[in-house]
Symmetry: C2
Subunit: 382 residues, 2 copies
């Protein structure tokens, strides 16, 4: 992994606190040199983890630090879970010298398992001592079943954006199940930042749908130091979208058990919202994703998935193609299945459904469903 650094004014560290039995890095600390503007997007699941509630309550205030742990979601853990979040924030605030309510807290891992706050408290001093500009250890400390850290950067009108993320399983829109932390040196208002985060998340992480399962801890947090150039609202959105889209792509490539990236493209839809809805329907079809795994151009499963959501679908004016090979058009099968199968045998392909309803287009990312996904998720984790 190339050396990647945070924007000026942010430093991070990643340490092993013993939450993961493997002894791998499992606590990350991100610190700003002064309280700064931030915005976030969170899971809409009412079974949200306590840390999500904590961060939501902090929206609108400035932030100095972020603590994240992997190996335990601290979700559905009741009052003990709330105490752990508060203790973690308090310990961090004491170490770096800020207010408790300037500390953001995130967790990822199995749901419903008590998380011992002392593990994090004990590890935090060494994290604080090893803070640096490089993102690598921090990015590794987020990982659960991810096989590689996910880091992306962009520059927008002279401002930098850098983001790190973890994905893997429980990947569904609103949000894709994941954590992502972005930093930018852009000088932006709190309102512009909030609107830009929602806009970019909707067009990136919310167009990723792997197993259709929604999680309790999904969070995207964006911190803006203001040390760099002033950005207009659209420049900021574009900069965030570039990083979020690339992180979403990396998450799809590294989905649990995935061997290939599948782009589901809907064209000719009556609206972008409808196109996204249909794309998600195909993306979450177990049957289609299993066919993708076997490089089987079973386009009927794509049509069935679209028809399950769009009851007004007119099959006679709908077409299905895999990469450039048209397999169904004008109500009839066509094309060469062998050509489509060859396209599907690589590590990435696109299935395109073209409707005759309008001119809206959307692309949703997914991955194939493999035996390994089942094996990974059938393991006893609790």
């Amino acid at each position: 992994m190339a050396v990647t650094r945070w924007v000026d004014g942010l430093r991070s560290a990643g340490v092993a606190a013993g939450i993961k039995p493997s002894g791998a890095l499992d606590v990350g600390l991100l610190v700003a040199e002064r309280p700064l503007t931030w915005a976030g997007a969170f899971t809409r699941n009412p079974a949200a983890a306590e840390c999500v509630n904590w961060n939501r309550a902090a929206l609108g205030r400035r932030a100095r630090a972020l603590v994240v742990n992997s190996g335990n979601a601290n979700a559905c853990t009741g009052s003990a879970g709330r105490n752990t979040v508060e203790a973690t924030a308090a310990a961090t605030a004491g170490l770096i010298g800020c207010r408790v309510d300037e500390v953001l807290v995130c967790s990822t891992g199995p749901i419903g398992v008590p998380l011992d706050a002392r593990l994090i408290e004990t590890a935090l001093p060494s994290a604080a001592c090893s803070l640096g500009a490089e993102v690598e250890d921090f990015s590794r400390s987020l990982l659960t079943t991810d096989t590689f850290p996910k880091v992306s950067t962009s520059s927008a009108s002279g401002a930098s954006v850098i983001g790190v993320a973890k994905g893997a399983a429980m990947i569904a829109p609103n949000m894709a199940t994941m954590l992502a932390f972005l930093g930018t040196d852009a000088d932006v208002s709190s309102d512009d930042l909030r609107a830009a985060v929602d806009w970019a998340v909707d067009r990136s992480f919310n167009r990723l749908c792997v197993d259709g399962c929604e999680s309790t801890n999904d969070s995207v947090l964006v911190l803006a130091t203001g040390n760099g150039p002033k950005l207009g609202p659209q420049e900021l959105r574009d900069g965030l979208l570039e990083v979020c889209s690339d992180l979403a792509l990396k998450m799809a490539r590294d989905a649990e058990g995935a061997t290939k990236l599948v782009r589901v493209r809907i064209e000719g839809a009556r609206s972008e919202t409808h196109a996204v809805e249909l794309g998600r329907a195909v993306a979450r079809s177990d049957l289609w994703r299993a066919a993708a795994h076997g490089a089987d151009p079973n386009w009927g499963r794509v049509l069935a998935a679209v028809g399950a959501v769009d009851r007004g679908l007119v099959v006679g004016t709908t077409s299905v193609a895999i990469d450039d090979e048209l397999l169904f058009a004008k109500g009839e099968p066509c094309g060469l299945l062998a050509v489509a199968a060859a396209a599907m045998s690589g590590d990435e392909f696109t299935v395109t459904v073209t409707l005759d309803q309008g001119d809206a287009v959307a692309e949703v990312l997914t991955a194939d469903l493999s035996e390994e996904y089942v094996t990974l998720n059938a393991e006893v984790t609790t």
Copy 2:
């Protein structure tokens, strides 16, 4: 398999027409001694197979015969598919001496593959010669990846109901992906029969949700000979429900790759409709179904699945139990995971989610998600 017979007035046969490469039975014929009252429920997918459109057009008329083939769904096959349905109905009408529009036609198998009508036409004479009262060959002729034929019977106020079904993959509500054919000797009106079919299907097949994928050929057809006792509307409903529920249970047990039956029970819901909706959300969670496969009592995945659909869920007044072991209550984990894991290690268990919204209850059936499901559905079928 015990010898099971149709009600008086119905006879069937099953023959091998060469549609399945294995040479197994793949064409079934069901014949009534005279035109009789029938009703049906069909997939709502607009990519419905031509045979579904054919049968829908026949609703309200009387029927004399039903031809079904497995090994090819004849769906999304365009004008050639329409011609095959018409040719099949015409050949059957000629053989048994009835009108073409008194013949119902069903198909099941891969989508989008041309089906040669001559294979069926050639096989029909031997089917007509071997018509008998026993259901066995007919029930076997429906099967695709099913591992056993599914037959159920009930008696309601002196009338008999008998049904045969095939299930396996693409199992989702509206309809569960499947074919089911029921015969009864009850003397009922066409209107009562139609209402009873919808009522019973809604409470049986539509409460089965295995992979969440909807198919193009799902059909339940019920034929009433009228040779038996007169039934009131509720007696008829109860008789059909008993058979449909048992067939749905057998379909869940025989879902592709399934090793265990999982009952998802929602209690304390504000309405039965809402309870069914939440039950389906849990039933179609890949993560939960994979945990079921591994006998992992990962109840957090159940809560996350419910919360993904019920945005007003109050976690603090929701509980989750596996069989009798309460694992989450009043916002806190509780109970013994080892006890729950032991319950999940058998071939059947119940996960119960209890809400505090009302007193409605519903149960949805599903099965575990295994590596074998993926293997079966990753195979190139076209």
